[in-house]
Subunit: 357 residues, 2 copies
């Protein structure tokens, strides 16, 4: 399974297009994957999962499918989520039942989200904020714990005395493994890491994160460390994003910061992510940060760049670093050529990148 | 106590300057308060609280002080927090022991944070994002519940098997009162309200917030409602802040969003806040959103504008709406005059606003 395997073994890639624009952008991701690898490098197995599947069959993620997925080498996911007006999907059903179930079942404790402001990409930030600076950082978001674990409940539901709780669970083991992964990434990048938490209010979880962070820091004497409260981190993302190299943070803070990070580096149309199990014990899963965007589905106008960059992360994770670099380079060239401002179709973007990869 | 009292009764204002730049900015706030009200409108009682007090006496908030504060008409707070290098204050001691203790003891369930991009104020956002638009919204942040309640703990502390938890507690009563307050504010403003949560993952708390929001919405048929996940809300704050009128959200999301909101509307040097108990059963507390900024303390360069705007919120809460409007107008005029770019001293800003109020 996964990383470290030889470069010429045939690999199985599970493909979950999902709903809305999901299948459209995934098709372009696969186009680029095919163009950059040797023929038959990947065997693709398509899985029909998401809102549409649930609306048709009532199934979210059958155990047999989960079982099959356990044996693939990687997963490429588009996006899941129903169109408004379609048969109502209960809130959280697909998130908790599919996305998070996969992240937890496959122990994706590193949720990797690179943010890079490519030359020529429009940003909502003022020129003074970014001009002449390299905005290029990665958020290492913990992916299996914190408030996402699903621990909590409701008593006296629907009454005026209802009480609803959500429990953030943080274990030393869970925090340490992701913090160590983040430090290792910083050591391969610009040697700077920022812990983001809110330890002045969340004293229990924050105390654990800080202590572990300091312990692991001692193993990486060349990596400069920094700490920001999550509220302050949002300020810096808007006023000085170039200050960051690696950010490590918990599941919920990471969710929030990576959407903002995507916004300031050109939008979630460009934001890639990897749900990674670094040990390779389970398959890792790669997906764009954006959702299923039902409003533009079927029109062939969705930007597939985030999915194509996610394919790059997949290749890198599978040990195909050279191919991964070619994908990023081709995307960069394509983005630079976009400056004219004309809007291209989903497949035109995929074709262009696939042809230069 | 508090709102609704006659305009000419003498009121008691507790003043907590705090640490770092806190006392400096509070002095300017009081200057403006004095200038805008009739002589002797307020009796000021100064309280020495914060890191410096703790370092000297080991006390954070003596019960006798809390008891005295219960009987004042309002509280003006600067900022608390130690300078680095000074005797280490344990993480959370002042936050949980002073700020949050006051917010909870006085049931400050409305944490009100207006964000307005005044003409002439520099923003980190690009011109296209804000030009020709009115960025003017308020965040109504719940102030007594959620992850801030201090429910949680640590087991096996300091061992490799440590588990740290934080519990977000949300009650129907607590959510309803703040949501109703937010709707009432929207009805007095531009009739638009956005609920921010993460109900697709935090299904228990999110379900409660949504249900209550919909119930209260039925009482305000003229107010248009909207919902955003917290991650998406950060995107819109960076790419289209003019879309917001009133945002209502929980304690932690509100903490994060208001720092980002402050950043995009000119920085936390301008961000005012009120910790409000709308019933008047307890005194409300007004404070700038910024911290004690020990790096610039004592230099007379801190911007007192956020504190002066907080005085405006205090006046408004105490039923002195006309005076509150004069403060905001004087601040607006002063900000417009700042465009030259010269940096004025803390007291020069206070003097200028006090003289035109
Ligand atoms: C859809 C949702 C469960 C998910 C998350 O919160 O992690 C998404 O926002 C993301 O960032 O991948
Ligand atoms: C200092 C801290 C307890 C506080 C909070 O988190 O509420 C601050 O960030 C704020 O926004 O007022």
């Amino acid at each position: 399974n996964g990383s470290g395997a030889g470069a010429d073994r045939r690999r199985t890639l599970a493909v979950i297009g999902g709903d809305g624009i999901g299948p459209e952008v995934v098709a372009e991701g696969l186009k680029v994957l095919e163009a950059v690898t040797s023929p038959d490098a990947f065997e693709l197995v398509h899985y029909d999962l998401g809102a549409t599947r649930w609306q048709r069959t009532g199934e979210v993620l059958p155990d047999s499918v989960l079982d099959e997925l356990t044996r693939v080498d990687g997963i490429l996911l588009g996006a899941v989520g129903a169109a408004p007006g379609a048969k109502d999907v209960p809130s959280g059903l697909l998130e908790r039942g599919l996305l998070l179930r996969l992240r937890f079942a496959f122990d994706h404790y590193v949720n990797l989200r690179p943010s890079r402001l490519y030359p020529g990409v429009p940003t909502p930030l003022a020129d003074e904020v970014v001009a002449g600076k390299e905005v290029d950082f990665v958020v290492v978001r913990e992916g299996t714990e914190g408030l996402y674990c699903g621990n909590g409940g409701v008593v006296r539901a629907g009454t005026p005395n209802e009480i609803a709780t959500e429990v953030s669970v943080n274990t030393a083991l869970g925090v340490e493994r992701v913090v160590r992964d983040a430090f290792a990434r910083a050591a391969r990048r610009r040697n700077k890491i920022t812990l983001v938490h809110k330890h002045n209010v969340l004293v229990n979880a924050g105390g654990l994160w800080r202590r572990v962070f300091e312990q692991v820091a001692a193993e990486f004497p060349d990596v400069a460390t920094d700490y920001l409260h999550v509220d302050a981190a949002t300020i810096f993302l808007a006023t000085d994003p170039a200050r960051f190299d690696v950010i490590v943070t918990d599941n919920l803070f990471g969710d929030i910061l990576t959407d903002l990070a995507a916004a300031v580096t050109g939008g979630i149309g460009l934001a890639a992510s990897g749900n990674i199990n670094p040990s390779g014990a389970y398959p890792s899963m790669f997906e764009p940060v954006h959702g299923s965007a039902p409003d533009i589905a079927g029109k062939g106008v969705a930007d597939p760049t985030a999915t194509i960059l996610s394919v790059g992360l997949l290749l890198d994770h599978l040990g195909l670093g050279e191919e991964a670099a070619r994908v990023e380079k081709a995307v960069l060239a394509d983005i630079a050529a976009r400056q004219g401002g004309e809007r291209r179709s989903t497949s035109a973007v995929g074709d262009a990148i696939a042809s230069t990869v």
